[in-house]
């Protein structure tokens, strides 16, 4: 199994489709590379670890059992898209509202008390509209490029850039009081 650790994602994906004999070892390598990323992505999408665990299980079990990968250009694209679909299914089953349109952002001044910027960023991202949050997380937390995000979300790259820009703008607006407070403290 050690030899697969040197393989690129594309090589692994290709071997996984072709090499039935070493499928388990290749799967283990893929799992080691992607399980934490997929799990954390699911935590961001669903907002809880239980659902994230279920989705991660579903994603990797389906991946192993899947035999037709022709329509997917990349390993990460398949895994993220699969996780995203499971997440949407779970959220819809729970009849939770997934706001695809922008909603009013609510963040009170009390929120800023005694919290550092890292904590506030976490809170602010949670308050982003779902469609913006998802793309922002994929771009800046999961570190995917626009091409990969485009494959996962089936959205063109120009739209993605606009959404990321809007998400960043909203985060900045939400956190503006914190920055102003910091400037005041410095000037004292």
């Amino acid at each position: 199994m050690k030899k697969y650790s040197t393989y690129s994602d594309d090589q692994l994906f290709e071997q996984f489709c072709k090499d039935k004999k070493n499928r388990n070892d290749i799967f283990t390598e893929i799992y080691n590379r992607y399980s934490a990323r997929i799990y954390n992505y699911c935590v961001h999408l669903t907002g809880n670890t239980q659902d994230a665990s279920d989705i991660t299980q579903e994603t990797f079990v389906k991946f192993y059992q899947h035999s037709e990968f022709q329509s997917y250009s990349s390993l990460s694209g398949y895994l993220y898209k699969s996780a995203r679909n499971h997440a949407y299914a779970i959220l819809r089953n729970k009849k939770e509202k997934i706001p695809l349109q922008d909603e009013e952002l609510e963040i009170t001044e009390n929120t800023f008390e005694n919290k550092d910027l890292s904590e506030l960023i976490n809170l602010a991202i949670e308050k982003l509209p779902f469609a913006l949050k998802e793309i922002f997380v994929l771009r800046y937390i999961q570190g995917l490029n626009y091409e990969e995000i485009s494959e996962i979300t089936m959205t063109n790259q120009a739209t993605l850039r606009t959404k990321v820009y809007r998400a960043l703008g909203k985060l900045q607006k939400m956190l503006e009081p914190h920055f102003k407070e910091k400037i005041k403290e410095k000037n004292k």
């Binding site: 388990n24 665990s53 008390e113 904590e119 800046y140 850039r161 960043l168």
Partner: protein, 434 residues
């Protein structure tokens, strides 16, 4: 190219020099845009710190492999089931805590042995199991050929007694020695009424014996007074002295134990708490020194502080503090018209209300979290005020190592005179978030 594309290109590191100049020129003239841009960059720079990736729970991995019928390698199993398990992490933290505690205890013992080498210990007399003194006057007269009138407080105060640390400890040794002998008499002569717990050392003796301990030891050995010579004197602080000899298990486990540590506080008061409450428990060992009949001892693991905190917000918390700590005491008493200086070293149980402030904005990215802690409470002998500054050093998600400096002030009353014990100690322990 519009502003959005310029900013996104800059953020993605794909902006060409020409467009970069255009962007920066725009930001130079537009203060609001510049401010927005700076804040956006700060947010992106902080993102890495804002999100610490969560590990995949081991049961998820096990379920996947089990469903697919894939046998996991034993090493992966071991890593996921044992090393990564929260119980193992807790166990390791506990082991680390015990290791530090025992190391300090052990090295403290070595240090004490080293320190006591060459000293003529006053505690040698304890091996004789003799009744030491019943008549303080006789004791006093034997010690000092020149009789001094110690009947008035004024004279005692004029003596201007000053003690160094070793001397204080020697006297504390002595007080415990007397307690041990006291117990001996309780067993041997149970019919005798009210065996006393007092220690009688004159102030003059205090002044002299620090420079001549050998002499004192000899005299003590010579004094073979009979039990009948004990005077049944009442002692207002006798409970204090008795506490010195309490076995440790009484504090933890007996039915009379005032501190029931097995009770789940969470279960009891959870219906009363707001939805987003947060608890934290601090288990601390207070490093002090105390005296025993066998010499100076590091207190090692027999002193503790148990603090349960409820967080009002991310930084401020209130809580209950319970502990068991050594307090050297030094006070004057009048017995049969004579005045004595008494020094003892009892371990007291304390309970109090505490307030804690955590400073989360400390540098080094949360590598340690400084805190300030104030406790006001009471002991069997009087009120207590405790202050503590220190830092929590996160080890794992919910567990942190805790180190700090700790100041305790015990205030007590003896014969309508107020005394206080004020001491600084090093403390260390575990901080557990619930």
């Amino acid at each position: 190219m519009n502003k959005q594309n310029l900013i996104m290109d800059f953020i993605d590191g794909k902006i060409d020099p020409e467009n970069k100049d255009i962007l920066f020129e725009h930001l130079f003239y537009d203060e609001a845009a510049r401010e927005e841009f700076t804040q956006q960059i700060q947010i992106l720079l902080k993102l890495n710190q804002a999100f610490k990736p969560l590990p995949v729970p081991s049961y998820v991995t096990n379920n996947i492999y089990h469903t697919l019928g894939i046998k996991q390698s034993s090493l992966i199993n071991l890593w996921q089931n044992v090393v990564q398990s929260r119980y193992t992490k807790f166990g390791l933290a506990l082991a680390l805590f015990l290791l530090i505690t025992l190391s300090i205890f052990y090295f403290g013992q070595l240090y004490n042995q080293y320190k006591s080498m060459g000293q003529n210990e006053i505690t040698h007399s304890s091996k004789n199991n003799f009744p030491l003194v019943s008549s303080s006057e006789m004791y006093f007269n034997n010690l000092h050929s020149n009789t001094t009138n110690m009947n008035t407080k004024t004279q005692l105060n004029q003596s201007n007694i000053k003690y160094n640390h070793n001397y204080l400890i020697s006297l504390a040794n002595y007080s415990i020695l007397l307690n041990s002998i006291d117990n001996y008499y309780k067993n041997q002569y149970s019919n005798q009424s009210n065996t006393t717990n007092f220690q009688s050392i004159t102030s003059n003796h205090l002044q002299n014996s620090s420079t001549n301990e050998t002499n004192e030891t000899q005299i003590l050995s010579k004094e073979k007074a009979t039990p009948n010579t004990f005077n049944p004197l009442s002692f207002s602080n006798s409970s204090t002295a008795k506490i010195t000899n309490l076995p440790l298990n009484l504090v933890y486990s007996t039915q009379n134990n005032p501190v029931n540590t097995t009770l789940s506080l969470n279960d009891l008061i959870s219906p009363l708490l707001p939805k987003d409450y947060r608890f934290e428990i601090n288990l601390l060992n207070i490093i002090t020194q105390t005296a025993t009949p066998n010499g100076l001892k590091n207190t090692g693991i027999n002193q503790f502080d148990f603090n349960t905190l409820y967080y009002l917000n991310s930084s401020n918390a209130i809580g209950l503090n319970v502990g068991y700590e050594n307090f050297p005491q030094e006070f004057t008493r009048t017995i049969q018209g004579k005045q004595f200086l008494q020094i003892q070293s009892p371990n007291l149980i304390y309970m109090g209300i505490s307030y804690r402030y955590n400073y989360f904005q400390a540098p080094f990215g949360g590598a340690f979290i400084p805190y300030f802690d104030l406790t006001i409470g009471g002991t069997q002998v009087g009120p207590i005020i405790k202050g503590q500054i220190g830092a929590n050093i996160p080890i794992w998600n919910l567990i942190a190592l805790n180190i700090g400096l700790h100041n305790s002030m015990l205030i007590y009353n003896v014969e309508n005179k107020i005394y206080s014990t004020n001491k600084f100690n090093f403390v260390y322990g575990l901080n557990i978030k619930l």
